[in-house]
Symmetry: C2
Subunit: 337 residues, 2 copies
């Protein structure tokens, strides 16, 4: 009875064919040519322009793809095909975008068929959370591990998992939704799913900003001064910066963020017992100011020794995370095909 605990490096892929990777976001489109070893031969991005409708945005996306193909040139060699990442709901098996809420008007778009026709290459589509998990596992912080939980803490909270060295897509292909577990029963209404008290309703960038606005109003009402009480919109970064300066109102909002993220991750590590938790997205720009207290909460509260000692790190993908994720799912699925 033997078992290989380490999946090891994900194969010697130097010189193996790469993919064209396309990342469709609500505010930004990105494209790159990525080698099987994670080398990015070319990269470009532009605004999505959701207001122009899907046809115009897809035209921009495919032109971006042409551009990065031209930029990569012959150096990138033969390509396996096209990997596409986008927010769900989508069908990764038929390659159809069903109706992502951040892409108004994009209903039943057969994006892999369109990409296939445009580039003359096979194309695959996955949820961007699933793709992000695959990207961190193949190219990033999760190289060499068997079991990885990935969360992107951004406008909303998405994510995915790699389990026993396989990307998990969920029963219907939209991956798991780690942002939609309860952290505050009967708490704030979640804008995405409508339920009360979801992790996303507390620890997402949107929620941090909203809770900051509410905390400022409450502080003003009781005559408490706060540096957050100033004109203009508030962001998660503003809250973090003010909390660092010891501002009591910002500290309260930041502490609730840490507590809810720690609680949600504790539930998730209890369920998955992952070796590694990778956190990406804008909110993790705070780095260890966010992660250190979260790590302490998980270590103190999780169920078993393995769950308590799961490593929690910041994603390594950076601005190219979406493209690297799309490349990873392309490499995974097109190599299998």
């Amino acid at each position: 009875m033997t078992h290989d605990h380490n999946a090891g490096p994900q194969g010697d892929t130097s010189g193996a064919p790469g993919v064209l990777a396309l990342d469709i976001g609500g505010t930004k489109l990105a494209a790159g040519v990525v080698g099987a070893d994670g080398r990015m031969w070319s990269f470009a991005s532009c605004p999505t322009g959701v207001e122009d409708g899907p046809e115009a945005a897809l035209r921009r996306l495919f032109e971006l793809g042409e551009k990065v193909l031209a930029d990569a040139g012959a150096a990138a060699g033969q390509l396996l095909g096209v990997g596409i990442g986008c927010g769900g709901p989508l069908d990764p098996y038929t390659g159809v975008l069903i109706g992502p809420p951040h892409l108004t008007g994009w209903t039943d778009i057969p994006v892999t068929d369109l990409a296939g026709q445009r580039y003359g290459l096979p194309a695959v589509l996955d949820n961007d959370g699933t793709a992000g998990a695959a990207g961190e596992w193949r190219f990033g912080a999760g190289r060499g591990c068997r079991t990885l939980l990935y969360l992107t803490v951004s406008t909303g909270i998405g994510g995915g998992v790699v389990l026993d060295g396989r990307t998990y897509r969920g029963g219907a292909g939209n991956g798991g939704e780690p942002g939609h577990i309860t952290v505050r029963s009967g708490g704030r209404r979640c804008r995405s799913c409508g339920r009360q008290g979801c992790l996303e309703a507390y620890a997402s960038g949107t929620s941090i900003a909203e809770r900051a606005v509410e905390a400022v109003a409450a502080a003003r009402a009781r005559g408490t001064a706060t540096v957050l009480d100033r004109p203009g919109p508030l962001t998660a970064e503003d809250v973090d910066a003010a909390a660092q300066q010891g501002d009591p109102v910002a500290t309260q909002v930041w502490t609730e963020t840490v507590d809810t993220l720690g609680s949600g991750l504790t539930s998730l590590v209890n369920v998955f017992e992952p070796e590694l938790v990778v956190l990406g997205g804008g909110v993790t720009r705070s780095g260890d100011r966010l992660l250190e207290p979260v790590r302490r909460l998980v270590a103190a509260q999780a169920m078993g020794p393995a769950a308590r000692t799961a490593r929690i790190v910041v994603a390594s993908g950076g601005d190219a995370a979406g493209v690297l994720g799309a490349a990873a799912i392309g490499l995974e699925r097109l190599a299998d095909a």
Copy 2:
């Protein structure tokens, strides 16, 4: 781009070798000889007698194994080996029981080595929640599905998952712990993991009984009559029966049980997007009185269409669930070996 959504029947296994299956519980030991087709050639059980220590209990377990082997006789044919299920923490790769809390004094017991020597057959060990999931998938309510979440709602709440047709063991082999996700933030202290507000701290049989005792005391203090206010211990079944009669105190306890189970399952289906949720354990003897309102809550609250429509059913394993689970992991792992 094709994908087989249905794993289909788990192979034509009629006539294929079976296994000796051993189930180690805190109150009961059970053994059976089970064919690859799920046919149970023989079955026997006896009290664990934890107070006698591990040596005496293991002697009873192995004698039970001898008995079912003799009872099955030649009809069962050649056996692949021995499958063993037990509560964790344990190491499924070395076959060692690390120190299950329900088996006082069982520390670092190399149970697969001992079973292997006793029977002259290879042996494998898994968490009983993992085994239960594998058993329902191979032989029970989950036949033919790709993605299954299994919870046993009993003294505590354990469980496991089969994802994309593979039993998931977690990063360190103790499977997930679906009972230890938050359903009531800042709520009741969980006896197993110490955190506040776990699903197990509300919907387990132990918690239902405890909450009933507390509700009776509160009712007495405010002069409210309840049929639960009588001598002797209370059980989950008492609460269910009294709630059915319209007793307001029992109804309150039962409603909290339904609400917390519905909330926990909503978080879990959001994370796993399973086709099927199988609920086993004593508390599910209430059947549709428990499941119908839980189904409604999940359908109303879960995130995506797939999560909202996950079927929720009672386990089919019955009293032999532990043995069928142990058989399933034996068949899975010993056939691979």
